[in-house]
Subunit: 210 residues, 2 copies
């Protein structure tokens, strides 16, 4: 059992990397079997169908994201500190290039958005929940007086989220590595734009720990 | 000849819409033939190969973009006025939903970025040239004293470009129509952040004409 579970994990690690490059639709059991030199019948035994394989790949991407992006910042104080840590942890993760095709969820978004089904629903749930995490920290920052009263938390989350996705896009399509630095500057500026004195102190503290 | 040219245009109008939904890789001559109820041999007579068809679709998307986004703002004065007009014309175009799959170039970016070839090269050229147009207007705005000396034009173009792409992403994947309003607010704020008094006057004038 333990060995079978390990095999499944090894397969999925390769499958999620392949999907970041070629997309989820192309991730058939036959294509994956070719790519990792394994028999189709062996893969069928693990996943049963293309949809189950795709769903397992999405869950693997979620686990990697949680481990690489969410684990450190969870210890930061709720509000502006955690928003800054989450934003820069995400940017660093994308820049590090964990998957060959860059951000997994960005890579599959435009592919799944027009294909109703369980895979699309799961990608929507996960990406929406990530946006909502950023919104929640921004709202907490307003409540804690770290951002000026009247600041729209959803607007700030929208902007921060946009910068990381843009850096991923510019690097993946244009090979523009400067985009990560630009995104970092943009995030820092957006976080500071409506910060109060208390908020600026929090941001300075968060920067010292990066 | 004229009739054949019109047929070709009609085919391409449908093909670019289909590609915005299903992607460029799926746009085989066979798939297109099914979708528009035309014979494969008829399509081969027009395009010859899948790659020629894909390249023709990219050119069609470029022509639509030029007509819908570039034609009006070209008359605005170079610098901050034209940057504002271009940015909001692009946002309005994406919001209008000209293609079923949203922004064509965003829809195909993550698909082509890992597939070397003429199609990828053309998509890279066109998207890079669009970013460079925004950068050039921002640089002109600095030179004209509409933005503070020391403003990084590429940084401003990066941010504006990010907001429109984010709105497209949020609407396509999450059905979040509020994203267009957020992008508009974000663009306006980014343009104003480093504007001089002269620049602010230009932006107020540009807004009055929207």
């Amino acid at each position: 059992m333990a060995r079978s579970e390990q095999t499944r994990r090894d397969i999925l690690a390769k499958a999620v990397d392949l999907a970041s490059v070629e997309g989820l639709e192309g991730l058939t059991i036959g294509r994956l079997a070719d790519a990792i030199s394994m028999s189709k019948s062996g893969l069928f035994a693990h996943f049963g169908s293309k949809e189950e394989l795709q769903l397992a790949v999405v869950e693997t991407a979620r686990e990697v994201f949680a481990r690489e992006v969410l684990s450190g910042p969870a210890e930061a104080e709720a509000g502006l500190a955690r928003l800054a840590h989450l934003s820069f942890a995400w940017l660093g993760y994308v820049e590090k290039g964990h998957f060959r095709g860059g951000c997994f969820f960005a890579a599959v978004s435009s592919e799944v958005d027009d294909r109703p089904g369980r895979v699309r629903d799961r990608v929507i749930d996960l990406t929406r929940s990530w946006v909502e995490s950023l919104e929640a920290e921004a709202a907490e920052a307003v409540a804690a007086g770290e951002l000026e009263a009247g600041t729209d938390p959803d607007q700030l989350a929208f902007e921060v989220h946009a910068f990381v996705q843009e850096a991923n896009w510019a690097f993946q399509l244009h090979g523009d590595a400067a985009a990560f630095r630009r995104a970092g500057r943009a995030i820092d500026r957006a976080l500071r734009a409506d910060a109060t004195g208390a908020g600026l102190a929090v941001l300075d503290g968060a920067r010292a720990h990066r």
